[in-house]
Symmetry: C2
Subunit: 180 residues, 2 copies
DNA sequence: TTTACTGTACCAACCAGTCGGTTTTTTCGG
DNA sequence: CCGAAAAAACCGACTGGTTGGTACAGTAAA
């Protein structure tokens, strides 16, 4: 794959994400994505032979991006858990719309497409638990943070923006204390 | 609405839930639901003038059922939180498939259909927080429990069945201790 | 020459919702 | 209680629009 092709692939994924965010998970059609990406439908199919392949790539892209940000954050925090919570706090809101609908599109289309997400989560969970000697409180913090992400995902958060921010900071704070 | 009509409506909702559970959120079509309910498409449309109306009814039905079960459980527990966690523990797995895909169908179709879920959640959260004087730990337990539900919803739980059961009991236990 | 597309036309499947007609149930005067 | 009119419940073929994917001839860059 040439450099230009890589760029095109990237554009298509971005376009797919923005279509999902703007129009909703149910509106992620090949035509819509192709148009948003500034590619022809033939061009899209050339890189992603099926819709499933496209959505799978979207999910993978989101996981990679999340991983990248978390790694950066890890250097600023004492523990993986603290870094994870902090990353989610600052990251989730930014791409909430995108991620949300992309994940939903995947889930509605074919639940199996979320398996990478599950794998990813298992790894993170193991790491966090190992670092804190299976502490139940660490587990609780991990889960609570996930709940916040899911709230954004489905747009059903019961919190106000400010409550949400405070809550995220509370989680991070508790994670840091846990480490000490 | 006659008694028979009520039965028909109920059958249709049940059919819609089972279609969602069996075939996936993306396969909840009017034809499929009608067939599963043993009704004609015309009959379905007679009771639910649009697909949106049908999905909305599904969501409402799930909320009502959850409410009902929780109320029963509340009489066996000391606090709303403990009852809520206990209900989720025993209830979620039973109908996980149903609920999951129904909710996803709603979300993918039109995010606004989940607003009742959000409202419902706000009420529950307020009640729990009020009962425990805004205790952060109560909030954490509430959120952690929600995360478990979401895991089932998307079939991305990182836990084994046994881990899951133990975890649920841990949450319930902590909720009871919080009360004392 | 291979890779990476464009553009357009096309197709079969699917799907929400319509519509005219039929059956069942309810209502109500006698 | 009876029977007919009225209303409610229900049927299923059909329509118009959408969508995932194909086909293919041609072009431009690497």
């Amino acid at each position: 794959m040439s450099k230009k092709a890589q760029i095109t692939v990237s554009q298509i994924i971005q376009a797919a994400l923005s279509v999902a965010a703007d129009k909703g998970a149910g509106k992620v059609t090949l035509d819509a994505v192709a148009k948003a990406a500034g590619v022809s439908k033939g061009g899209l199919i050339y890189h992603f032979p099926s819709k499933e392949a496209l959505i799978s790539a979207m999910v993978q892209h989101l996981l990679d991006e999340a991983d990248c940000r978390r790694e950066q954050q890890t250097q600023l925090e004492q523990s993986t858990l603290a870094a994870l919570l902090q990353t989610r706090a600052s990251f989730t809101r930014q791409i909430a719309g995108n991620t949300a609908m992309a994940i939903l599109a995947a889930a509605a289309e074919q639940p199996a497409l979320l398996k990478p997400v599950q794998q990813h989560n298992i790894v993170m969970l193991q790491q966090v638990l190992a670092e804190h000697q299976q502490s139940p409180q660490a587990l609780l913090l991990f889960l609570a943070s996930e709940a916040l992400v899911f709230h954004d995902l489905l747009h059903i958060s019961p919190f106000t923006e400010q409550e949400r921010i405070d809550l995220e900071q509370l989680l991070v704070q508790q994670a840091r204390e846990l480490q000490a």
